[in-house]
Symmetry: C2
Subunit: 285 residues, 2 copies
C-alpha cells in the first residue's frame, strides 16, 4: 500500500509525540519537526507508510540522541500485558473455539499502538474484541491453510501485544505446528524488538524467535535481512499482525493472512471498512 497525502499530517503528529516522549525541550521538538518538514519537501508517494515512518522516527532518534524513545512505554505495556496473561489464557482455552477466541484476543492486543495515538484502554478493548463481529473473517481459508502446513511465520507488531499473540501461537502450536515469531530488528516506535518479545515470554510458546533485521515499524521487505527474506519467501503460511504489516505487505504474492484492527482512515478507505473494524483477511491479489 502506498503512502497517501493524508498520512503527512499524521507523520508530523507522530514525530511531535515521539519528541515529547524523550525531551521536554521545545527547541528539540521544533528542530525535529523542521527536519521532518525538510524530508517532506520532496515527498515520494511510492513507498508504504511504514517505510516513510521509518525515516521520520530515525530523525527523532538522531536529534534526541535517544536510540529507543518508547522504551519506557514498551516496558510498561509488556508488564501490563503479562499481568493480564493468565486470565486471558484461561478465557481462550476454555472457549468453544480456542483458535477463534485467540484470534480475537490477538486483535484486542493490537490496540497497543503508539503510532496511531497515545491513549487507549486495553481492558475495554478486550471485552469489545470478544463480542464484536468481524468486518472480514476469512476463517475457513485460514483454518484450511493452517491444517495443511507444518510451520507458520508470525510477523509480530507491538510491545505488550506480543503477550496477546502468544495466546494464538499457543493454540497453533497445540495443533502440532511450529510457529516462528519475527520481531523488529531495532527499536522503532513501540514495536516489539527481540528483547520485547522475550520479555513478553514469546519463547514459552513460539518454536523460534527471529528478527526482521530492519528498523522499519513493519515488515518492509527492502529493509529486511537476507535471512529473514529467505524465511519469508519460503513460508508455507504467514500471519501478518497489525495495520503496519498490512500497509507494508498488501500486494505481496505470498500466503499471508492479515490480522489487525483498523485504526486509521487511510487504511479504512483502502480496504473499504471502518475505523475500529476487526479483520482476518486472506491476501487477495
Amino acid at each position: 500500500m502506498k503512502t497517501c497525502l493524508d498520512c503527512i499530517p499524521c507523520f508530523f503528529r507522530q514525530a511531535l509525540e515521539a519528541s515529547r516522549m524523550v525531551s521536554d525541550d521545545e527547541n528539540v521538538h521544533k528542530n525535529i519537526l523542521q527536519e521532518v518538514a525538510k524530508e517532506f519537501s520532496s515527498i515520494c508517494l511510492d513507498e508504504s507508510p511504514p517505510s516513510v515512518s521509518r525515516r521520520v522516527h530515525k530523525i527523532v532518534r538522531d536529534l534526541t540522541g535517544n536510540p529507543d524513545p518508547y522504551k519506557e512505554v514498551k516496558d510498561k505495556y509488556n508488564r501490563m500485558a503479562l499481568g493480564l496473561y493468565p486470565q486471558l489464557r484461561e478465557r481462550v482455552l476454555r472457549s468453544d473455539d480456542p483458535l477463534l477466541a485467540s484470534i480475537r484476543m490477538a486483535i484486542a492486543g493490537n490496540i497497543i499502538d503508539f503510532g496511531v495515538g497515545n491513549s487507549f484502554n486495553v481492558e475495554k478493548e478486550i471485552e469489545e474484541s470478544v463480542h464484536k463481529e468481524f468486518a472480514v473473517l476469512d476463517y475457513s481459508e485460514f483454518c484450511d491453510l493452517l491444517e495443511k502446513g507444518e510451520e507458520v511465520l508470525y510477523l509480530g507488531d507491538n510491545a505488550g501485544e506480543v503477550v496477546f499473540d502468544r495466546l494464538l501461537i499457543e493454540v497453533i502450536e497445540n495443533m502440532n505446528k511450529r510457529v516462528v515469531y519475527a520481531a523488529r530488528g531495532m527499536p522503532i516506535i513501540n514495536d516489539a524488538t527481540l528483547d520485547d518479545a522475550k520479555e513478553c515470554g514469546i519463547h514459552k510458546n513460539a518454536t523460534e524467535l527471529i528478527s526482521t533485521g530492519s528498523d522499519a515499524p513493519a515488515t518492509v521487505l527492502e529493509f529486511c535481512s537476507p535471512d529473514f527474506i529467505d524465511k519469508f519467501n519460503s513460508a508455507e503460511m504467514i500471519i501478518s499482525k497489525g495495520q503496519g504489516n498490512f500497509e507494508a505487505l498488501s500486494g505481496e504474492n505470498r500466503p499471508i493472512f492479515f490480522l489487525f484492527k483498523v485504526k486509521c482512515p487511510v487504511v479504512a478507505e483502502n480496504i473499504n471498512h471502518k475505523i475500529g473494524d476487526m479483520v482476518l483477511m486472506n491476501q487477495k491479489l
Copy 2:
C-alpha cells in the same frame, strides 16, 4: 497567541483539504504539500496561527492559480444562512433577553469554519447554542461597555456566519449604537470578504462595512491596512468574532470582547477550556 507545534499537522491537513477543493489532480495536491513542507523547514513560532495559516493558503492559491478556493462553499453557506435568517431573527427578538439570545446565535454561526474541518451541522449547532451553558460569559462587563459607548467595531469571521452576526448587530443598533463591521480584505479559507458580507445582507443592519485590508484568516494587525488600524486603535469597544481573531488579538491592549466557540485543542488549552465550549470573554491583560 503564538503558533504551537501542534498546529503544524493541522496546517498540512488544511492545505490538503483546500487543494482538494479546487483540484482533482493529486500531483497538484502533492506539490502544494511539498511547498508547505518547505515553509515549515524553518518554523517561526513567534507568529500567531492565522499569520502562519495565511502563508499556507497563499501557497494553495499560488499553486492552483485559484484566487478563491472556497468560493463555492462560501456561496453555499451564505445562501443557507440567509434561508435560516427569518426564523432565527424571530427567535432572537421574541426572547426574554434578545441581546444574550443574539450572542448565542452568533456563536452558533461560528461553527461554519473550514479552517477547522469540513463537516458540521449548522441546525444542530443552533439548537445546542440556544441551551448550552457558557464556559466564559463576561456578560455584565459586555453590557456595561456597550452601554457607555456610541460605536462598536465588529470583527467578522466566516461567510454564512455573517448572517448570524447580523442578529447581534441588529440588537446592538436597536440600542442606538453604531456598528462597524470589518470583513477580510481578500479571500482566505471560507472567511467573509466584503462581497460575502454584502451577500449576507450586512448593510441592512451594520452602519458601516469596512475591510481589514489583509489576506490573513483573522485580524492579524501587521497585515491590516492603516485605515483599519486607525479604526481598531480608536474603537470604544471591539467585538472579536471567532477563534482566529482570538488567536490573533489575545494580548492586544484594546477593549475587546472575544466571542467564539472553542474548536481546536491548542486554543482550548490556551484558555483552559474544552473543545465545544462557548465563550464571551473580556480581554484580560
